[in-house]
Symmetry: C2
């Protein structure tokens, strides 16, 4: 289903982002540039996969899936700023602040964040709980980033919040959008927390900057992936898309 | 009712903001510092006044009122940044970036924005529509700010979005939280749009930087205030608190 899912994600993002003809044009342009196209879209794929795993259709979760990607991309825009990571390139292109200026990058990020919540609220089912899940992740991801900048060295806290919180919100929103029961929401939340941690350990291995030695990090990544997949047992819907995604992420080379 | 309303606003803000004992402490501290206490709280007063004018109780709109103040304060934190207005003082104290550093100010603003939506979603009635109204304002206020920075000189666009959008969302959210009908929501939206414009004209007079001459700006402020008050006729609830607020804002000296 992944190709169809990616098409749904790109289509929905294009639908909800401001037209380039809207005012001010530079804001619409910067917002669309930030979200890009053809990215990996891991978080929205988790959201759609969770909807299917909870017994619904992936179309049920189209808006929450777009919302989590908008939120994720705003965090990247702000992380790249000169006063944060001071990055000039991302995905082989100039970062938003490098291309549009620092003020416009801050503002485009701010607008993407607001838009994310507006899009999440458009879910036909459980919109209140979906927005709450997204807001928890929105505060959590900032807490993780502040902790990272402060260099407290609490890896668990940073990984859980900076990375896994958005994975968790994606899964919970997908399950809620599909009308999943509490047991499904909780199981998918657990799947996503473990997948988020696995993703971060794997990222450390690829970047060669793990706080642990290589063999320990590999074990942590493997165990977290196993725990993620185990959490899927007992769900009423089709869990194959999420299993494929989890397995692919563990083996990813970029 | 204004004293009681202000107490409800401060109480709700204190309830929803992260405790100083939460992690990371610097984030909670910066968020609370940004929101401050004892401010004028104009937007939440509009929200509570709209709930009463729509026939409900002001307690119905406590969460939306807190949400609009959180959103407003995040915009101030980001507007003050060095790459934006580069302000070092606000309300007689160092600005957030001056006190906590630029990265923490960006992040505290980001977290306040996410929190605003989470708090709005807690409204017992119409939470989906309330979040949508807040998100429209959240994108609109950024559009107004970008247009202002770009110096296009379109005063109507800038005032409508940079200032009035938050007033409009405050009123709509209050009416929706009180279970007001479509006619009430629309009337209160019109009230707030006009009040927002009046507020901005009045601001220009106080700052001495109006794009028009003094006499024209005074007429614009007076007419917008009259239009705001006229929009309140026909509402089923008590419109006195909003009338008092509108009259007081036109006469404000700070």
């Amino acid at each position: 289903m992944e190709q169809k899912a990616l098409e749904l994600i790109e289509h929905t993002l294009d639908e909800v982002l401001p037209r380039l003809s809207s005012r001010p044009a530079v804001l619409a342009e910067a917002m669309r540039y930030a979200v890009g196209s053809g990215g990996k879209r891991i978080r929205p794929l988790i959201c759609l996969g969770a909807a299917v795993a909870a017994g619904g259709r992936m179309e049920d979760a189209a808006y929450p899936a777009a919302a989590i990607e908008l939120l994720h991309n705003y965090t990247l825009v702000h992380d790249d700023l000169p006063s944060m990571d001071n990055d000039v390139e991302r995905r082989g292109r100039p970062t938003v602040w490098k291309k549009f200026g620092e003020a416009n990058a801050i503002l485009a990020g701010d607008a993407l964040e607001a838009l994310a919540f507006g899009v999440a609220a458009r879910s036909p089912r459980n919109s209140g709980r979906i927005v709450s899940a997204l807001a928890r992740a929105g505060v959590g991801v900032v807490a993780g980033q502040v902790e990272d900048i402060e260099k407290t060295g609490d890896v668990d806290f940073i990984y859980t919040h900076k990375t896994a919180d958005l994975f968790v919100a994606a899964a919970e929103m997908g399950a809620l959008a599909a009308g999943g029961d509490e047991v499904s929401v909780s199981a998918l939340s657990s799947f996503a927390l473990n997948l988020g941690l696995a993703f971060q350990y794997q990222d450390d291995l690829l970047d060669g900057d793990s706080p642990y030695d290589r063999s320990k990090t590999e074990t942590l990544a493997k165990n977290a992936t196993d725990a993620a997949i185990a959490a899927l047992s007992g769900l009423s819907g089709d869990t194959k898309p999420l299993k494929v995604l989890a397995t692919r992420l563990l083996g990813r080379k970029i």
